[in-house]
Subunit: 333 residues, 2 copies
């Protein structure tokens, strides 16, 4: 009898604690979101899929939410931050590559002419990325990214790049996790680049980051195993590649997807096509004053087809200007 009492007492304690945790969850709020349709749509969806007894209830294990990174979780202007990293690395490595002085796209770049360097289009970009993202071990690359993030600053805002994450999206990530969601990044960016800061900045651990990958080779160097980054692409996690990446890396269909460009459209389509309640959201860059305003004509982060499809299908479109009280978190890190 005494044992039974002890067990029931333990259960009472456990339930009390869980109730406390639930209270804590309720306190993770979307504070930086104005009280408009997008905020209400998010909250309504979360209630639908998490409330016991709801016809749309989704078990915790299936509460997968996927987020694009560039332009959705952090800024992407004047160009993808990973490309800015690559440009800085070219400068840092130029001492070891005297031949770059006479070779495009490096020559222009080293003269400070970024536009000229990128005039070569995609082949030029691939050359810059490959020369700075390969030919080293994964640990060496990791250190390069870490050092750059700690020192480099955005040319216009003067902030560290990790301080250019969107405060409302950080709140949204925390809000979803507090309601049992598992949050993933699904980005065209390089996975080795994003994993360096995803946990610290977004609370998303490396194993929940899906991105583009380069080939990697296992080697024993003096008996010590290393992974060497090769200058070959393994997988491009963009456009049609995003549902593919979701399938290969996550292995279940998300119930919520968040993006900002046409590169995210197939991910949102794939998410929306599942059975049961689904949520798709586009971040629309409408705030020229506090951030940047761009959509249908932009070379980076173009939102054109996606905007039409969002309107046609009733997906949520966030206007950064109207829906967000703050854009970036206070720069304190």
């Amino acid at each position: 009898m005494k044992a039974l009492q002890r067990v029931s007492r333990a259960f009472v304690l456990l339930f009390a604690a869980l109730a406390g945790l639930q209270l804590a969850a309720a306190q993770v709020a979307l504070q930086s979101w104005n009280d408009r349709a997008p905020k209400k749509a998010i909250e309504a969806f979360v209630e639908r899929v998490t409330k016991q007894g709801s016809p749309d209830f989704v078990p915790v294990a299936e509460r997968i939410a996927v987020f694009d990174n560039d332009g959705t979780l952090w800024a992407e202007k004047p160009m993808y931050f990973q490309l800015l990293f690559a440009l800085d690395r070219v400068k840092a490595l130029s001492g070891q590559h005297p031949e770059w002085k006479d070779k495009e796209p490096f020559a222009s770049l080293l003269k400070g002419d970024v536009k000229g360097a990128l005039a070569g289009g995609e082949p030029a970009i691939v050359q810059i990325v490959m020369s700075t993202h390969a030919g080293m071990t994964t640990e060496e690359f990791d250190k390069n990214v870490r050092d750059w993030l700690a020192t480099a600053k955005h040319p216009q805002t003067g902030r560290h790049y990790t301080e250019m994450a969107y405060q409302p999206m950080l709140e949204l990530l925390a809000y979803l996790r507090a309601h049992g969601f598992k949050t993933f990044i699904v980005s065209g960016g390089g996975v080795d680049f994003m994993r360096v800061f995803s946990e610290r900045v977004y609370g998303i651990p490396p194993e929940q980051v899906v991105g583009s990958t380069g080939k990697v080779k296992f080697e024993l160097r003096d008996g010590k195993p290393v992974l060497v980054k090769l200058p070959e692409i393994q997988f491009v996690d963009d456009k049609e590649g995003k549902p593919v990446g979701i399938h290969q890396f996550i292995g279940r269909r998300p119930i919520a997807a968040f993006g900002n460009s046409d590169g995210d459209l197939q991910m949102l389509q794939w998410t929306a096509a599942g059975s049961g309640a689904r949520f798709c959201l586009y971040v629309h860059h409408t705030d020229a004053e506090r951030e940047w305003a761009y959509d249908r004509q932009s070379s980076i982060g173009r939102l054109d087809k996606g905007l039409d499809e969002a309107n046609a299908r009733g997906w949520t479109v966030v206007s950064m200007k109207d829906d967000w009280k703050t854009i970036f978190a206070p720069a304190t890190k």
Copy 2:
């Protein structure tokens, strides 16, 4: 004052509940393991890395444990179960492929001559796998695997294949998770095949299964997005591929690795080479009576170099005959 009391009371309740959970964790025991060196080594390692204040303490987020599947978590004789699935699928599909009657390796197979069919070696196996694992959507493939697992039985034991998971390893998975580990499969097997049963059988969710992958293509069929499995290999997660797969899919180095063959050697080397406490274990198939006995000469699951390296480096080697009280869980599912 009253609020403060309420808060401290909530904390007391929370800690009491957490203590209860810890008690529950302690009750997840390695019951099917004999009280010998491997069991003691596992318990000692887990204590070293989880005990607060231990010099080898590892934070929860970094407690990554990786497990090979075939021969480590479930049996692999007379051949990989996924290959048995493929053979059964060839028979099921033969009505749609009248040309197979005169075409090897299918012709032999359809006459019941499995040995003859596999005499063509790797090219024959690739043909069999590609003809049964591609040319359909991921959802169709998923259903094929699900139906097969529900009906097919092992030719020697008469068990469903999912009933041929090793009971001591199921306990080990639960034991590690109860101590804050995140358990992953890292297998040469196909990821789309394993993900169908990994959660139900091992408690490992799809997003924690790393394996070999085929290419997959996103398509809109009548406006409905589907993923089509193509007859092309994307990534082979075996031997040198295992540390690569760990890097690409998990993005951090495990602190514990479990395998049974030379195909797992590089995964164990990669795990062992990290700094701090590490644990590597080989399952050695020594029980001809209750399972199978094989190692250095076996065509499937050969353990040769791995056995030498385990002996040289003091890795734990489990003798299934001596260390395990039970091999398979009672066949009740």
